[in-house]
Amino acid sequence: MATEANGEEGGLALHPMAQFEVTPLFGGDTVAWYTITNVTLWMAIAVIAVTALLVLGTSRRAVIPSRVQSVAELAYGFVYKMLEDITGKEGVKYFPYVMTLFMFIVMANFVGLIPMAFTTTSHIAVTATMALLVFFTVTVLGFVLNGGKFFGLFWVKEAPLALRPFLAIIEVMSYFVRPLSHSIRLGGNMMAGHAVIKVFAGFAAIAAIAPLSVLAIGAMYALEILVAFVQAYVFTILTCVYLKDALHPSH
């Protein structure tokens, strides 16, 4: 996973994408659907971290919270308020679903920042699965809750009648592009940040550039910490917005 560089000769071997390779954990090189890979490991670590924060952290059920418990409560309140603000009272019953997505993404992003870690959310397969889950849930929910009125989402009543068919085409297109933008935004951000850090790390092999490189890695790392949270936030808030469309399709 680490970038090897033959510094003595000045030859650089940059493998910024090597960190994203999916490899079996216990030998062998076939990756079947059930193989235990580094994906399994780091997803499990994320689950354990979330459990540690939200279950073990709150095990004392203190009225005056400890530090870990206040972070857990903060996360709860953050997502709950976001969901309630956007979707209203009706959306609150989907809170565990949204909270699961948020906690998984934010924790996978953060454990992915540990050096030598594998960032599961940098893979389009992972983010696209989550985005498609949201997309199908929202679509099914929209038709189940509103029936044919769900098509009102595409029929802009405020616009002049002549314009409405064209707007409907645009609306339908934007609706189907949603899972794409939803997933690539998260996956792309995570991948790009980690790859850039790796590139800087590769340049550190040249002694003259090394201090600058280390500085750049530090700066990128700080930025990535911000990005890790912001992207989880963006993914969740978009999920809330899509959910709102399913609950209140009137444009």
Partner: protein, 179 residues
């Protein structure tokens, strides 16, 4: 078998050009499978254990805070009541004190008045007595003057050699004194 061939093809592609592992479709089924396992596990952990617990803690805290606020409100009204009672007691005490002062003043005035009256009567009595004495003294003095005048007149008449009755002289002196 099919997966293996796919796998082989993927690796071959990777070996040919170090591309993006993100686009290596041979690993997709693995990632998606483990992601679904992860999400389901996480969903159950959160919805069964973590979220109800945090909700309960938050509700409990909210309850505790509102209870405390109510208790504080109660104590505040109690404090206000105590202050009012204190002020009332203070006002009463002040009124009592001023009443006592007024009473004492009245009593003192009464005593003073009585004393002044007594002193006045005493003074009046003493001055009356004095006047009487003065009158007596005055009367005595007049009498003495009469005596002296009569005697002197008798002596003067005798010295002049006129033989006059003593009674006549006295009468004459009396008339003179009256006039």
């Amino acid at each position: 078998m099919a997966t293996e061939t796919q796998e082989a093809a993927g690796q071959a592609a990777e070996a040919a050009a170090p591309g993006m592992p993100q686009l290596d479709f041979s690993t997709y089924s693995n990632q998606i499978f483990w992601l679904l396992v992860t999400l389901v596990a996480l969903y159950f952990i959160l919805s069964r254990i973590a979220l109800p617990r945090i909700a309960a803690v938050l509700a409990e805290r909210k309850g505790a805070i509102s209870n405390d606020i109510a208790a504080a409100e109660d104590l505040k009204t109690k404090a206000a009541e105590a202050e009012e009672a204190y002020n009332k007691a203070l006002a009463e005490a002040r009124a009592e004190a001023s009443r006592i002062v007024a009473e004492a003043k009245a009593e003192i005035k009464q005593d003073l008045d009585a004393a002044i009256k007594e002193a006045d009567t005493e003074i009046a009595a003493m001055s009356a007595e004095g006047e009487k004495k003065i009158a007596e003294i005055q009367a005595n003095a007049t009498e003495s003057v009469k005596e002296v005048a009569k005697d002197t007149a008798k002596e003067v008449v005798a010295a002049l050699g006129a033989d006059v009755d003593a009674r006549t002289v006295t009468a004459a002196v009396n008339t003179r004194l009256k006039g």
